[in-house]
Symmetry: C2
Subunit: 210 residues, 2 copies
């Protein structure tokens, strides 16, 4: 029963777990090789550097997520509802049973200065473009900047939930249960969809007393 995967996979698994738990900078290669019960030099043999290892850890998880996003959006037909679009956007990321993937992705999305060049321009740009198009078709009256802001807010709520998933139950006094991922996705989609349906703000109107 396949007790010992190969060294390369063991390194990826341990790195994913520790990066998600403690962050990328705070996790040393020695921490990783100790957890993986693998020799230190194996990291630089299979991957060239810590930076490349980080990229490999992220790529392994983000590629299937993006694939599922497009699949779900396609499966919703030519005129998907707002809820279907948003579910295709947040669902594949949040609906993962591998507990270490979610915090890892949260760490990644919360550190833009480190990843915007190496990761986001490669993996997130096509996703953002495609989902902006779908949203624009469903909400044609919403200005593009407003649409972009709201997609960003939605991504923020999602990223924050992923970053905090390990401690959320504790800090919420048990009110927030992260383990029921189906309910979580429905909650977030309902919240975001309502925000998207707000008519665009008109600056002149807002000047009245708050």
């Amino acid at each position: 029963m396949n007790e010992k995967p190969d060294t390369k996979s063991r390194i990826l698994d341990s790195a994913e777990k520790l990066f998600g738990l403690n962050g990328f900078e705070a996790t040393s290669l020695r921490d990783i090789t100790a957890e993986a019960q693998v020799n230190l030099a194996a990291v630089n043999y299979h991957f060239q550097s810590k930076e490349s290892l980080i990229d490999a850890v992220i790529a392994r998880r983000i590629e299937p997520v993006n694939r599922r996003r497009f699949e779900m959006l396609d499966a919703a037909g030519p005129h998907p509802s707002l809820e279907q679009i948003l579910t295709a956007f947040v669902g594949p990321l949040l609906d993962q049973d591998l507990s270490s993937v979610v915090p890892l992705m949260g760490r990644m999305m919360s550190d833009p200065t480190q990843f915007v060049e190496r990761v986001f321009k490669k993996y997130l740009t096509p996703v953002s473009r495609r989902f902006q198009e779908a949203l624009h078709e469903e909400l044609p009256d919403l200005p593009r900047s407003e649409l972009m802001w709201r997609l960003f807010f939605t991504g923020g709520a999602m990223a924050h939930t992923m970053s905090w998933s390990q401690v959320l139950s504790e800090v919420s006094g048990g009110l927030c249960d992260v383990t029921d991922r189906g309910a979580l996705i429905e909650r977030l989609v309902a919240f975001a969809a309502a925000g998207f349906r707000v008519p665009a703000l008109e600056p002149a109107v807002m000047k009245g007393k708050g």
Copy 2:
């Protein structure tokens, strides 16, 4: 005209800037003392350790923010509107002209495992409690867990915006302008308020096809 503040303030200012720019772990004390044009040993004289310095940098900015949050909530009277409550929650954090404060706070909120013990239980618990009460009075039919989740989503959208503020204009192709903070706050409050007003999800009802 007060060209050179004292060493202690210079360290705090430089630390705030570099922590926000590159993160806490990635910023060394040497980076900070070089930026501040101050001797390395001065850090351990004025603060005892890097960890204490981080706490001091955060405390200096979060305390006035929390004070303003309570002031704004009090100023809204005994029955504040949902928009007034949310503005009091997100406004004081986002409405800061010091450009380094916003990314710093974003970094802090995005690293729960590091700060949940040292920072959040001290500074965020009373805020969370007070705003939960206010929200519950305004939305008495919303279950507490649902309310907590939505407050969390709102905080996530806010934290994400702060973390990304330095690169958001670039990655959005110029669509998102972070400099107009008044408009940003209105946008986020409108988005979140709509999400809060969604009736509580009833699990049984959701089982129909999406």
